[in-house]
Symmetry: C2
Subunit: 281 residues, 2 copies
């Protein structure tokens, strides 16, 4: 008897159709997807009406996407999938700086700046000195490490969200370490902000009783010859949302000190060392 | 310690965020979705690049959707999800006529026609007499059963796919049974056709080594007072695609006889009885 579709045999009915000569990795991923998707439908006994709601949700999520808006990434972020994909692909030895999500506001090509200089140009917010060392796993300084840094302004917006309102490259810069592996720059103490929540994902969060906020953080991409790229943030530990980041980006090791200094130059100081793992480990 | 996200605890990290007072069914569905989605990502060790491909695929699938095109339903259909949802929501006693997918080409409001009349108006195809009885589970005829029927034309297109080319309501009609429960009408022997395959789902099928064809079938929606609605097709058993329907719609009990008769009136005859289950069972 041919392999017609039945409720009990639904996974095999679908996966048996996959051609013999296809890409083996595609076969692995798609047959697993079908297995888990069918298990989900069976576990919750999904109704026809719920299926229609799911189709409608996915359609609206796709239709709101544009050059400036990626609602499927927001969906992945808010369901913890983005962090999970990052985690399983960036397992690092204890002590090494952990990754977190890149986020949608990185812009390539930010200006290279002198060590110690200020990246905040809109005169808003509480100034903060970010400083520390880039080292290998044994504490040796890493020379020629490139730190690409960015944060929101004191009103919770990145420069690219407010073109013409914020100065170009506001709260962004690139710094390169010398032989001592040290870095330092002056920005602002970042503030928490909501992810875009006027679309399907925002409505999903609301229905789930979740807020759309991310705790305050400074973004870093740290690269150095011979070391694995680190894409991460440092977080402000006393932020109201530190234990409820809408995209699950917080890791314990990424919560940085923000010390009040009021030293005439800056109000805050946030020391943090980046510890890199060798490439290819 | 707060419940920060970790690879090992990823499901709990996400599901622990769900609010206390939300709709309990939404909680059940969404926490199960997160559990299965994370299990899938972990099982296949999804790479960052594959995640990006998935985001891109979903985005393109959403963006091709329009009033005339529902690519997410095609995706659901081709992954067997539509048939699975139908199956778990329409379990019926042995002997009762089984459901299959509705498909995107049903149009409400087709003309009511006299029993025995012809619904094919474009002069194409091999004429076929469809006839049989609508009964309850005990073989008693069902009066006032309404049969809403539709099929493609001999070139594999539904009338709504070719407005201005096919006559309006070509190969569609509504018939109502009398006390004998009998129905009959003349259409054409349907032909196989591909689902829309010029979009992301078509490319997915190609990459999976699958074809986009559906075996030839006549659509029926059968309703009657006191009985559960049946949404189904009857299939042409010797169709080349009968064991490989792109949307998994074929069930063994829905393969109908198509007998060559050449009786001067029609070339084919396809007898099929619809056996209804009482409402609410």
């Amino acid at each position: 008897m041919p392999n017609f579709f039945t409720e009990a045999d639904s996974v095999n009915a679908v996966n048996a159709r996959v051609g013999a000569d296809i890409n083996p990795r595609l076969r692995e991923v798609m047959t697993s997807l079908v297995r888990h998707l069918h298990a989900f439908v069976k576990d919750v006994h999904l109704t026809q009406q719920e299926w229609e709601m799911a189709i409608d949700f996915l359609t609206r999520t796709g239709q709101i996407c544009s050059a400036e808006r990626q609602e499927f990434i927001l969906l992945s972020d808010t369901l913890g999938v983005s962090m999970l994909v990052d985690a399983i692909n960036h397992r690092r030895p204890l002590g090494a700086t952990e990754n977190t999500v890149l986020g949608p506001f990185h812009v390539a090509g930010a200006p290279q700046r002198e060590m110690g200089s200020c990246i905040s140009f809109d005169g808003k917010g509480e100034s903060c000195l970010f400083e520390g060392r880039v080292t290998d796993l044994h504490g040796n300084p890493v020379k020629d490490a490139r730190l690409d840094v960015w944060s929101d302004n004191a009103e919770g917006f990145y420069d690219v969200q407010q073109p013409g309102i914020q100065p170009k490259w506001n709260n962004r810069g690139v710094f390169t370490t010398g032989v001592d592996g040290r870095y330092s720059f002056v920005g602002i103490k970042p503030v928490s902000y909501p992810i875009p929540h006027d679309g399907p994902v925002g409505r999903m969060l609301e229905a789930l009783g979740r807020h759309p906020y991310r705790p305050a953080h400074m973004h870093f991409i740290v690269t150095a010859p011979g070391f694995e790229k680190v894409v991460t943030h440092t977080f402000v530990g006393d932020d109201a949302y530190i234990t409820s980041d809408a995209v699950f980006g917080v890791k314990e090791t990424l919560v940085a000190p923000f010390e009040r200094v009021d030293d005439g130059r800056t109000i805050w100081r946030s020391p943090f060392d980046f510890i890199l793992t060798p490439d290819g480990e």
